[in-house]
Symmetry: C2
Subunit: 176 residues, 2 copies
């Protein structure tokens, strides 16, 4: 009887530990079709990642952005660690930038802008060996779950990020 209880305990513990391990693993890479050039797939669970910061690009893009990071990214940003370690993944979500009539009515003036339809999602993946020729970063873009930037477009990512080499080629800074 004692032996059965002990075995039962071990099985229960193994199940619990397994569940935790699965949750962690679920944040690795791997869903759907890979984007060209850097071979990056949509990281599983990225919409659950923690917030790094927000931004708005006016002009042609006219979008709202939220920049999220996986656990490796968030820890490095909070610790101010540079260069960002291998395994860092940064997700840039974007939505159309739309005025909110509903909010403006409450405020009594035209001042409120909210996220509309999603536009696309971009990822930066740090792997200093695999992506050595582009500062250790791989780049990808997806729309509705599918890669939507061709090889020529993705090859323009790194040159654009080069001016912020001092921050390991990442524009976004952590917003406390």
């Amino acid at each position: 009887m004692k032996r059965i209880s002990f075995l039962f305990l071990l099985v229960a513990i193994a199940a619990a530990v397994g569940a935790v391990a699965y949750t962690s693993h679920a944040f690795g890479q791997g869903a759907g079709e890979a984007a060209p050039v850097f071979g990056i797939k949509i990281p599983r669970g990225y919409r659950d990642w923690k917030l790094i910061s927000v931004a708005h690009e006016a002009g042609d893009l006219n979008d709202f952005r939220a920049v999220l990071g996986n656990d490796v990214a968030i820890k490095a940003f909070r610790d101010g660690k540079l260069p960002l370690p291998d395994g860092t993944i940064i997700a840039r979500l974007a939505w159309s930038y739309v005025p909110s009539e509903e909010n403006n009515k409450v405020f009594g003036r035209e001042q409120s802008f909210i996220a509309g339809s999603p536009t696309n999602v971009q990822f930066m993946v740090k792997d200093s060996i695999k992506y050595a020729s582009t500062g250790g970063w791989g780049f990808a873009q997806f729309k509705n779950g599918k890669p939507d930037a061709d090889a020529a477009t993705l090859k323009k990512c790194f040159p654009c990020h080069e001016p912020v080499k001092a921050r390991d080629f990442v524009f976004t800074q952590y917003a406390p």
Copy 2:
């Protein structure tokens, strides 16, 4: 020897389970001074919560906002569940809205706006019994970890949210 190994295993497991339990518990309420009227303290770990959406208020506020939710909130938003269940907590973070000279140089024009210094953090806490007279919601505002809105100001929160009664008094909608 066998007994020592077993005890060691049990201690190690207890520590692991304890760490998981602590992490979950850390998302409850409770740090620092409570804000007036609704008696809400800063929920522990709120900066780690998942993203609901982003917003920009122009005019006098001139801020950038990120709206995060605890696990109860995120599940309800994703399931489209209304009214939001007791235990829901919504966090509205805000930062000053500033142009990014660095980004504008790369884009070649004035189009980029980023989060500057944090301004304040607001919370909506759902407890249909405790906050029955205000639609089931308690409201609080903090700056630098301290309550910074007086009773008169906090009493204005609910009337302002009443126009969105159909969405359980919450303005923000989930951005996929």
